[in-house]
Symmetry: C2
Subunit: 107 residues, 2 copies
DNA sequence: CGACAATTTCGATCGGCGTCGTACAATGAG
DNA sequence: CTCATTGTACGACGCCGATCGAAATTGTCG
C-alpha cells in the first residue's frame, strides 16, 4: 500500500529562515560545539554514530535535531544511516566570519 | 572600622580567560543580544539605565553580570553610575569575525 | 523470514536560567 | 542631614532544555 508514512522528513530551514539568535543558541552548548567542530574538521559528511561526544546516542540525535532546525547542519538519509554536514555556504553568506571565528578559537 | 567591604570589585576575565563557549552562551539570549547590539551601535560607553530592553532593572543587572563574566563587556564605575562598553579589541583578537558576523546579521 | 545494526521517538527526571519584586548600598544635590 | 538616583543583592518561582533508558522504526544481510 503505497507507503507506510513514517519517515521523518528531516526539517531544515531555508537560508532565509536562519536567524543569528537560533544559530547562537545552537552553538552555545559544549556537546553541539564539539559536533560542529568535528563536522568542520572532517570537511565532509559524518554519520551520527561516527561522532565522538560523551553522551548517549539518543542525546546525539536530539542535538543534531537542534542543529538542523537552527540551520547549522544538513542531514541526508541513506539507508539506516543519516549523514550530517555543516551548512558552511549558507552560514558564511548570512553571517560572514561567525563560523570561522568560532572554529578558529581553540578555547 | 577600616572599611565596609561592600563594593563589588567588578570581576572581569583577562583576555586569555575568555572562552568561545562562554561568549556564545552569553550571546545566546535575546535580551543580551539586544544589549550587545546597543553597545555596538553607540560605539562608546552606555550606562545601565540607558539600555532599552523589555526587562526589569534587576534583570538588566543580571544580564550585564553574565556579559561581563563572559568577557563580552567591560564595566567602569563612576559615582553611582556604571558605564558598560563592548570589549571589541579582545573579542576581535580572540575570535576574528565572530562579533562582526553577529552584529552584521539583521535577523 | 529472522536477526542484527543504525537512529529516532517517547516519557521522565533534574538542574539551570531568566524573570520579578523588594530590600539595600553608594553617591551626589539641596 | 535628608532625599533622590542609580544600581546591586537576595530569595522565589516557573519553565525550558540536557540527559538517559527503553521501545519502536527502518534497512541490510544471511
Amino acid at each position: 500500500m503505497a507507503k507506510s508514512v513514517t519517515l521523518p522528513p528531516i526539517v531544515m530551514p531555508t537560508r532565509e529562515e536562519i536567524t543569528v539568535e537560533g544559530v547562537l543558541r545552537a552553538l552555545a552548548d559544549p556537546v553541539r560545539l564539539a559536533i560542529v567542530r568535528q563536522l568542520a574538521a572532517s570537511g565532509t559528511e559524518v554519520s551520527c554514530g561516527a561522532l565522538t561526544v560523551p553522551v548517549t546516542k539518543s542525546t546525539i540525535t536530539h542535538h543534531l535535531s537542534i542543529l538542523r532546525q537552527a540551520g547549522v547542519v544538513a542531514g541526508r538519509q541513506e539507508g539506516t544511516t543519516r549523514f550530517n554536514s555543516l551548512r558552511r555556504n549558507d552560514l558564511d553568506a548570512l553571517f560572514p566570519g561567525l563560523l570561522d571565528g568560532v572554529l578558529a578559537a581553540q578555547r
